[in-house]
């Protein structure tokens, strides 16, 4: 095991591993975060459409979206193409051992493929210009600039933000002639989305049953297993990537899923807000656009999650409340029942239609890992109607698991 691992990375030596295990057991993290606390997410938009840099602490990812016209595949003649390319070459200290390097970039690529392609988040049919002849091919280049853990989240956030930021030129097809309009002739068109997926990563250790969110490289390398969950803004599961050697029970995964769903929703809202701010800036005039110069230094043009969402601590529950206030939605309380009601109408819009709040356990408290017995008593305490509902929940839960085994989001051993 140590023969194949790169010892120049943190978290690969025995003292580091043992210490991290011990620290997790005592609920301590090196940067003073709590186990359910994420690092601040910062977005910087480039001058071009579809260029986004994301930083998650010291993890930095630069994503660029480009498009050109091409021929569609014969199996899907009326759909555009979405291509994702991961490039880990920017991180010098990772490439000592070829196998781990390739494995890392393959894992990341497959996660992105499943999150964005298999879940069909971009409406590819809208990218068709002329069936069987011309479609738009969207290419996303994900460049990892620095790796300090949790590349998965950084890349999914960067990819989603870049795709949402991207605009393609308008095109007409008449008399067997393609005409591409410049930005001056016709305004560029943003991509159409069916849903907005974002991933959240958890690390699980043998020494503790409390998973930690948003690991640093040290924590990630020392972890026994890493779980990556992709949720969209409707809190539907898009990808589940669980691997490693730590014994994980359903409870833990469900707890992760519940928190991840909220976190994903907050993140998508954050990206939307950042995009609208960027658009305002662009309308005001191009000299205000700093481009990627914002990456260097503490310029106010860097859009940070904690600032934009109006909070210092990235507590999930707090972010949920906050977001509701800002969005002026009719929800006044962060009750699950209410959210469920909100989610229900959106159900017909999406083809997958998985209502997470029905299969996610309803207890909001994420600090403790409740034992099954405790959870059932707390549910029972709520009264009869809830009790019957919790049964239904469990049924759905079981059903959901069968579903996940058979579907595309099969578990993958990292």
């Amino acid at each position: 095991m140590f023969m194949n691992s790169n010892l120049f990375e943190p978290g690969k030596s025995k003292p580091e591993r043992n210490f991290v295990q011990l620290a997790v057991k005592q609920n301590q993290r090196f940067d003073g975060r709590r186990s359910n606390e994420c690092r601040d997410v910062e977005l910087a938009f480039g001058e071009d459409w579809g260029t986004v840099a994301v930083s998650l602490g010291d993890t930095k990812v630069l994503t660029h979206v480009s498009c050109d016209l091409g021929a569609p595949t014969t199996s899907r003649p009326n759909e555009g193409k979405l291509q994702l390319n991961v490039n880990l070459g920017g991180v010098a200290f990772l490439d000592e051992v070829q196998t781990t390097h390739e494995q890392r970039s393959l894992t990341l690529n497959s996660l992105l493929e499943r999150t964005f392609r298999s879940s069909r988040c971009v409406d590819l049919e809208s990218l068709c210009v002329a069936a069987e002849q011309h479609v738009w091919c969207i290419r996303v280049d994900i460049n990892v600039l620095n790796h300090d853990g949790n590349l998965y989240d950084a890349s999914t956030i960067a990819t989603l933000a870049a795709l949402m930021h991207f605009r393609r030129p308008d095109v007409t097809f008449a008399d067997d002639e393609l005409r591409i309009y410049t930005e001056k002739e016709r305004e560029f068109i943003p991509l159409l989305f069916l849903h907005y997926p974002v991933s959240v990563t958890y690390c699980i250790y043998k020494s503790s049953n409390q998973p930690i969110v948003d690991p640093t490289l040290l924590e990630e390398n020392a972890a026994d297993s890493v779980i990556v969950l992709s949720f969209n803004s409707y809190q539907e599961l898009c990808t589940l990537n669980a691997g490693g050697t730590a014994p994980t029970n359903v409870r833990t995964i469900m707890q992760c899923a519940r928190n991840a769903a909220n976190r994903a929703k907050a993140l998508v809202d954050f990206i939307r807000k950042a995009l609208s701010l960027d658009e305002e800036r662009r309308l005001q005039g191009s000299r205000l656009i700093q481009g990627l110069a914002a990456l260097i230094g503490e310029t106010p043009y860097k859009l940070s999650f904690s600032k934009l969402m109006g909070q210092q601590k990235l507590e999930l529950q707090a972010s949920l409340n906050d977001k509701i206030e800002v969005d002026n939605k009719s929800i006044s309380k962060p009750e699950v029942e209410e959210i469920q009601a909100m989610v229900e109408p959106s159900k017909p819009e999406t083809d997958t239609a998985m209502d997470t709040s029905s299969w996610l356990p309803p207890d909001e408290d994420s600090q403790e890992l409740p034992m099954p017995a405790e959870a059932s008593t707390s549910k029972a305490g709520k009264g009869k109607p809830n009790h019957s509902k919790s049964k239904a929940n469990k049924k759905k839960l079981a059903k959901r698991q069968n579903h996940s085994d058979s579907e595309e989001e099969a578990k993958q051993v990292i």
């Binding site: 030596s13 025995k14 210490f19 301590q28």
Partner: protein, 232 residues
């Protein structure tokens, strides 16, 4: 040691040293190179001077270049015959013999496994052969060298390691005023730490990492309020 910081770039001719070399012997440290009668910098960074006549360039670097006599922290990578392969952060792995430990014999071998952390001295280092380490001094005693079992270990720049190791460095003294701890610093930019509790160890590690970007002059100021880092 002077705190004047002349920044030199690779290729710069340093006339001051040449002048001094006419009257007495001058020792050129890392980053400086003699070309016939001229002294030329080969690395970028502030030029340092230690009385009476030692000069070197204190450039920012994370890759270690082994040098004889250096104290380094290494991670055991594998066993190979009667050698251990040890990663010391250099371009090549170093080797250490089974017999280079205190009271080790052919029968009584040290119990080291891949992933273990050892504190060792570089016995010989040359550009063309792999560096060799020892865990004993010249009289066969281990001293402070050998396996570091518990505690936390992290990597930093070579500068930080060097700075902490320099004579009467204020950082360690300032930390000692706050809490008791054990520390092993390798010039290869690796630091091992152990305090009474896990919390204290984390705080110490963060306090030391916070010094990463500080220069020699800032260090003295920062040390006055190192206690603040420990609180965080």
């Amino acid at each position: 040691m002077t705190s004047t910081s002349t920044i030199v770039m690779p290729g710069d001719r340093i006339a001051a040293i040449e002048e001094l070399a006419k009257s007495k012997r001058v020792i050129l440290g890392p980053g400086l190179r003699r070309q016939d009668e001229t002294v030329v910098a080969s690395k970028a960074g502030p030029l340092r001077h230690k009385e009476p006549s030692t000069f070197w360039v204190d450039n920012y670097q994370r890759r270690y270049i082994p040098a004889r006599g250096d104290l380094v922290l290494g991670i055991v990578r594998s066993k190979a015959g009667d050698l251990y392969r040890v990663d010391i952060g250099a371009a090549d792995t170093a080797s250490i013999s089974y017999l280079a430990f205190e009271s080790a014999t052919k029968k009584n071998r040290p119990d080291l496994n891949p992933g273990d952390l050892i504190y060792a001295r570089v016995l010989n280092a040359s550009a063309d052969i792999e560096p060799e380490l020892v865990c004993v001094n010249s009289v066969g005693k281990r001293g402070k060298l050998g396996l570091l079992a518990e505690g936390f270990f992290f990597k930093c720049s070579l500068n930080l390691g060097r700075m902490l190791l320099r004579e009467n460095c204020p950082v360690l003294a300032a930390l000692t005023r706050e809490l008791p701890y054990e520390i092993a610093i390798g010039v290869n930019g690796r630091i091992w730490l152990k305090a009474h509790s896990l919390r204290e160890t984390i705080a110490l590690a963060n306090a030391i990492v916070a010094l990463e970007q500080a220069g020699y002059t800032e260090i003295d100021k920062i040390c006055d309020n190192l206690g603040d880092f420990l609180q965080a």
